[in-house]
Assembly symmetry: C2
């Protein structure tokens, strides 16, 4: 069994090239984690997810505790076995989805009681229960239970929310069962306020975690506020531990965050877009529902090596989407996940060769060329 | 380029083991053709369809003429290239779907005018246009344009309908452009009336086709009436040509039809069932939506080598279905198509070894064990 740990292999400005080792394998960083909400990356077989280059998936504690239930997944041998994915898995703590999806939430110092958005059944999450669930799921990376501070929030509200999350972080650390190859990440909160982010980062470092996430972003604050927050937050985080920006994001959000020293990302964007006819390409996004693709024999993205691009025309993909065929969602999701992984590979190579700033500029120029021009 | 042709390799009673050769490859018979309605086998990648053992697909002229349009598919290089399937394709003539799906149908001696069930647009199909469309699609096997006689039908109605189809069969033959490796099948009609089936078979043989389909069955007449009709129809068909029972069927329908000398089948049952939580197994059908599967670590079917059965539990498949996850449809469709192909392989082997009757009995016993018993 490998020890859980992060190795910083190279840096370029604030950008970091690293390797995270876990019980189920290692992850080259900067890394993008596809989201496997309900124990499946939607419209993908697990080997296809691996074929895109993904080395780690994200699972959602909130969704999995409701369906099929953490004890059930545990009895069936854990999430890896359940969903047929033998590489690393990171699970979130459930806090974010409780705030965004659950009904009739009641929060107190101890935790949060809520009703399922699926069937109205009553549930409770506390730091201790979140740790227990993530243990039952057998997550390689467990996230501390926190409250996702709403945006916008006054300094007072953000401070109270952050301090509650810090008390929950300490309880998460106490409840987490250390195991060889498994790690626990803390989550920095504090909204867009430098003093609160600093207080949060200091408190988490004091508690001591295997990695540090930046939470409470990608909640509507906009790209510039997100970058500004990263600018004053990542320097506060321990150099020797991995950094994870939760729920981010669009390709240029990721590029900007890598430039600011972030190592890990997750987002539903590539998968959700894949089910709504949006494709990320090296010339920007394409809406395959658009009638102008109906007779187009060209691949979606000539620079892509995924099945959608190497074996099918835009005309075919447009046809599948128009007919609401499942294969359309399958192919576009595959493509988008592959696009994201190629983006990460390019950023990793750029850091290794000390060309991150130049590469980031080149990517921005490429993506802004727009989808109306011929390839 | 291979010449289009059928070789009878072995017989066992009325059962036939054969090989059909076409421009895009050969098909071992008895064969089951998965249905790729709108240029996709729903929820499957083409290489996955091939991995189930399928050697030929069925495409629907009606659906493809509406979306994306036959001229468009032709301009894009034909249906094989469009949908990424390089093995043989059989297309139906459009007649059946015009009757079952289209709106405001008006039939005359020359053909049928109708409105699309998708957008209400006006279209016309004649024997000549059906041949043209199937040529544009580049179908290896083209079906003659016919009227699917409704069931039940009086002898008078069935006779008139059958004779119209025979006049259309002659026009189909005249309009079909002979090409090396491509074949045209006629369709025997006549409902459940022996004299009409005999008249139809004789007329088709007189016109001369590369294969003969039995049409107008699997339309609500029931299994016994279907078998009775086959009993008096297949002996009327040329021994040296392939025989295709259109739209059939459940596993035991296929077994019974193979016993009665049928070589080719198509049906939406494995794919449609795969999208509605029904799995065909060696112990009969399973409804994976049923809560009793929620904690079951066993494979759906321990005799199956498909990804759904070798890599996932019933509990996981139940979970995917409960959450309406696309991967549930993907896995069950794959399994069902694999089940059908294993059934066909078993029937082919039985004919080769002269054990068809025994095998048919064994399959019936297995399938009737029911899904409530433990494997």
């Amino acid at each position: 069994m490998t020890a859980f740990g992060f190795t910083l292999l190279a840096t370029d400005g604030m950008g970091r090239r690293g390797r995270l080792e876990t019980a189920h394998g290692s992850i080259e960083t900067p890394a993008f984690m596809p989201v496997g909400t309900a124990a499946t990356v939607k419209a993908m077989m697990p080997e296809s997810v691996a074929a895109t280059g993904a080395e780690i998936l994200l699972g959602n504690t909130y969704h999995l505790m409701l369906r099929p239930g953490a004890e059930r997944v545990g009895a069936l041998g854990g999430l890896h076995r359940f969903m047929g994915w033998d590489k690393p898995i990171l699970t979130d703590s459930g806090g974010f989805q409780v705030m965004s999806l659950a009904k009739l939430r009641k929060m107190d110092e101890d935790g949060v009681t809520f009703r399922s958005h699926v069937d109205g059944s009553a549930h409770r999450l506390t730091p201790e229960r979140s740790m227990e669930i993530q243990h039952l799921l057998d997550a390689d990376v467990t996230m501390a239970f926190d409250e996702c501070t709403p945006f916008p929030a006054t300094h007072e509200v953000a401070a109270a929310s952050m301090r509650l999350s810090m008390r929950w972080a300490a309880r998460s650390k106490a409840a987490f069962v250390p195991r060889e190859g498994y790690g626990l990440f803390g989550i920095v909160q504090g909204s867009v306020y430098p003093d609160l982010r600093a207080e949060s980062a200091a408190r988490l470092a004091e508690i001591g975690f295997d990695g540090y996430a930046v939470g409470g972003l990608a909640v509507g604050e906009g790209q510039q506020a997100m970058f500004d927050t990263l600018d004053f937050t990542t320097p506060l985080l321990p150099q020797t531990k991995p950094r994870y920006l939760m729920g981010v994001g669009k390709p240029m959000d990721i590029v900007g965050a890598v430039l600011r020293g972030v190592d890990m990302f997750d987002c539903v964007m590539p998968t959700r877009s894949g089910r709504t006819a949006q494709a990320f390409t090296h010339r920007g996004t394409l809406n395959l529902r658009n009638a102008r693709h109906a007779d187009d024999p060209r691949p979606m993205d000539e620079h892509c090596d995924c099945p959608a691009c190497t074996r099918f025309s835009r005309a075919y993909l447009h046809h599948l989407i128009r007919c609401e065929e499942i294969q359309g969602a399958m192919l576009l999701t595959w493509h988008n996940l592959r696009f994201y992984q190629m983006l990460m590979a390019r950023l990793r190579a750029a850091i290794e060769t000390g060309t991150l700033a130049h590469t980031a500029q080149a990517i921005e120029t490429e993506l802004s060329r727009g989808d109306v021009e011929p390839i």
